[in-house]
């Protein structure tokens, strides 16, 4: 029996409200606002209150998918990573680094965005990196 509250930051808009994810026996069971939070001051909007609502959704991707004969079929992580690395390497070799483009994400963390642009610039060798900042 374990119940704890994990403080995190809302994944929806740019306000940056803080809330706790209530975790009971390793499962997220709800959201609680953070009364001491400098931005949200103990409040949340309807999206924040329901920010746990999609985490266990049945539509979650459950395995890497690879397109074979026009259809996306399940594959292992090893296969998928191998394919990505090989194809990116081939395309870079054949068409040059600028034939590859990367969309970073306003939903991902700072650390992930940092690594993604580092990958694009240092490994692929292109500045074709953008994200939906304008959308």
């Amino acid at each position: 029996m374990e119940y704890k509250n994990v403080l995190t930051t809302c994944p929806f808009c740019g306000t940056g409200c803080g809330f706790f994810l209530q975790v009971l026996d390793g499962k997220i069971v709800g959201v609680l606002p953070d009364k001491k939070h400098p931005v949200s001051q103990g409040s949340l909007c309807v999206k924040g209150w329901n920010a746990h609502g999609f985490i266990y959704h049945e539509d979650r991707l459950k395995s890497p998918l690879i397109r074979r004969n026009g259809k996306l079929v399940e594959a292992s992580w090893d296969e998928a990573i191998e394919l990505v690395a090989t194809r990116l390497g081939e395309i870079k070799a054949k068409h040059g680094p600028d034939s590859i483009a990367l969309l970073a994400s306003a939903k991902a963390t700072n650390e992930e965005n940092y690594l993604f642009q580092k990958f694009g610039r240092a490994v692929i060798g292109t500045n074709n990196i953008d994200h939906c900042a304008r959308l």
């Binding site: 808009c13 985490i55 890497p64 963390t109 650390e111 940092y114 990958f119 500045n127």
Partner: protein
């Protein structure tokens, strides 16, 4: 934002434009509204009579796409009535004479003709904003998503500098960033022209610094492609492969019929996401990503406040964090410098290379809760408001700007202006929110807003559906009649794949920021049955 929420509590006048704050940034809206109780005045200038417009002390409704004109009108009145802050203009700015000459032509009467804002109301707002000791401007995508988006932002800065409402608590120019970490994605160099902390890829010393840090011989020196250019590149064969991390351009970009054709043309499309998004359905490889609740990290909000994201549970259903996926691919390609086990280790590297994040460590975040950049070192307390004694470029530069019409105006064939946006209960392309039952029940599908006068003119009553057509495409959706929009204007949210607003929108871009004109395009509206 130039300022942050705690100091903005001191604002006496709050000018909100192009922001449906209540629905896009609900907790910012309620914080601002509560300031009314302390005597602050709220002014809303927006084509839609939104909730915050209803609560505002003054509401002005402009015709979509006429913002440059009313900004000039406000500045005209401020100069005419001697309300400008001459000391600030003299000490902190340049280009004032050009601005003065430009706005001289924009009398309130002329501005009324262009924008539809009553002349006397414009004067009232100019006085209210300029005379207060502390006035703050808030804007959102209603200001930026125009072919003149950058000029709109300059106008916000013009207005703030003209009155000296910047560089102090309770003032400033405060863009409300739309996505939880759009600020951070920009800060981290998720852009074609800059490394982290906006260090230009075109600058030799910046490249040298990163070459050395990353152990690579030569980093590319040319500015890369923006999203829209990537899409064109896919179509014309310049771009062969695309890796999309947690975005859904298939629904979020303008003129999506065109975007989808481009994505389908990709030789190799990698999409990593939590769900099989519309974009993922087109991919060659789909990688299941962990959600925010399943990983550690940081997000940077609209105030530049860097806060922790904490792992509440282990990654579900065999998914992996975006960090792990990137590192796996990089290592598989033989790259060095991707041996990270925790985001904390990545942040340590960010600290070294990103001056504004230099002092933002996990240890300090644990202790302080959050830090607002610029925070150059481990002793620095962070920077709640910018431009205190000087601007980034030294003197603040006024830009003199004429009114220009939007790229596409209504005509006989397409007589309505379509403006798009979000609603309270959904988020962006709905990948997450449409799967949350409590949100979905509020608004299960797309509903267009149309003025009752227009509705009766096209014969709309009760439950009819409408067909919207633009030069790019057409769709059918439910409609609600409401005075929230003016006659001649229809609003629609872009969350819904079954009536995807971006089938209609105009991919015309601002020439500088490359932002599409989502807020104005011409459409035809008729009964669907």
């Amino acid at each position: 934002m130039t300022n942050s929420f705690p100091d903005l509590e001191e604002a006496q006048v709050i000018l909100i434009t192009g922001s449906n704050t209540t629905e896009q940034h609900p907790i910012i809206a309620t914080r601002l509204i509560k300031l009314q109780d302390k005597g602050a005045k709220i002014i809303v200038i927006d084509p839609r009579y939104t909730q915050i417009a209803q609560i505002a002390d003054i509401y002005l409704r402009q015709k979509p796409g006429t913002d440059l004109a009313w900004f000039n009108g406000l500045m005209h009145v401020i100069l005419r009535d001697n309300l400008a802050n001459q000391d600030f203009i003299k000490e902190r700015t340049e280009g004032f004479e050009e601005l003065k000459a430009k706005v001289a032509d924009y009398t309130p009467e002329r501005v009324e003709e262009i924008t539809g804002i009553p002349a006397e109301k414009l004067v009232e707002v100019a006085h209210l904003y300029a005379k207060a000791e502390r006035s703050a401007i808030f804007y959102c995508m209603g200001i930026t998503q125009h072919t003149t988006g950058v000029q709109h932002v300059w106008q916000c800065a013009n207005l703030a500098m003209l009155t000296g409402h910047i560089g102090r608590p309770g003032t400033g120019v405060n863009p409300l960033r739309g996505q939880n970490n759009v600020q951070g994605a920009c800060d981290m160099g998720g852009l074609p022209n800059v490394f982290p902390a906006y260090q230009p890829v075109t600058k030799d010393d910046a490249r040298e610094k990163f070459q050395q840090a990353w152990g690579v011989e030569k980093l590319p020196a040319e500015v890369g492609m923006t999203i829209m250019e990537m899409m064109h590149g896919l179509e014309n064969g310049k771009v062969k492969a695309m890796w999309v991390m947690g975005e859904n351009p298939s629904l979020s970009d303008p003129d999506i019929n065109h975007v989808n054709k481009a994505l389908q043309a990709a030789e190799f499309l990698i999409v990593q996401d939590v769900f099989l998004s519309e974009t993922a359905q087109l991919a060659h490889v789909v990688l299941p990503a962990a959600s925010y609740a399943e990983k550690d990290g940081t997000f940077s909000n609209t105030e530049r406040r860097v806060q922790r994201v904490r792992k509440a549970i282990e990654p579900l259903y065999g998914s992996k964090s975006d960090m792990e996926i990137i590192c796996l691919v990089a290592r598989k390609m033989g790259a060095r410098g991707f041996d990270f086990e925790t985001p904390q280790q990545v942040m340590a590297e960010i600290n070294q290379l990103t001056p504004s994040y230099g002092g933002i460590t996990y240890e300090r975040l644990e202790e302080l809760g959050a830090l607002i950049w610029p925070c150059p070192n481990g002793e620095h307390p962070g920077t709640p408001f910018l431009h205190k004694d000087k601007f980034a470029r030294g003197l603040g530069l006024f830009h003199a700007i004429d009114h220009q019409p939007p790229a596409e105006e209504p005509d006989e064939e397409y007589p309505f202006i379509l403006t798009t946006g979000r609603i309270m209960f959904h988020y962006h392309t709905g990948t997450m929110t449409r799967r949350i039952e409590k949100l979905d029940r509020e608004v299960p599908t797309c509903v267009i807003e149309i003025n009752p006068a227009d509705a009766s003119r096209i014969g709309l009553n009760g439950k009819n559906k409408v067909r919207l057509q633009s030069r790019r495409g057409e769709l059918i959706a439910e409609a609600k009649t409401t005075e929230r929009v003016d006659p001649g204007v229809v609003f629609m949210p872009f969350h819904f794949v079954e009536a995807a607003a971006n089938i209609l929108t105009n991919p015309a871009l601002d020439p500088v920021a490359k932002i599409p004109e989502y807020k104005v395009c011409a459409v035809r509206v008729e009964l669907a049955e």
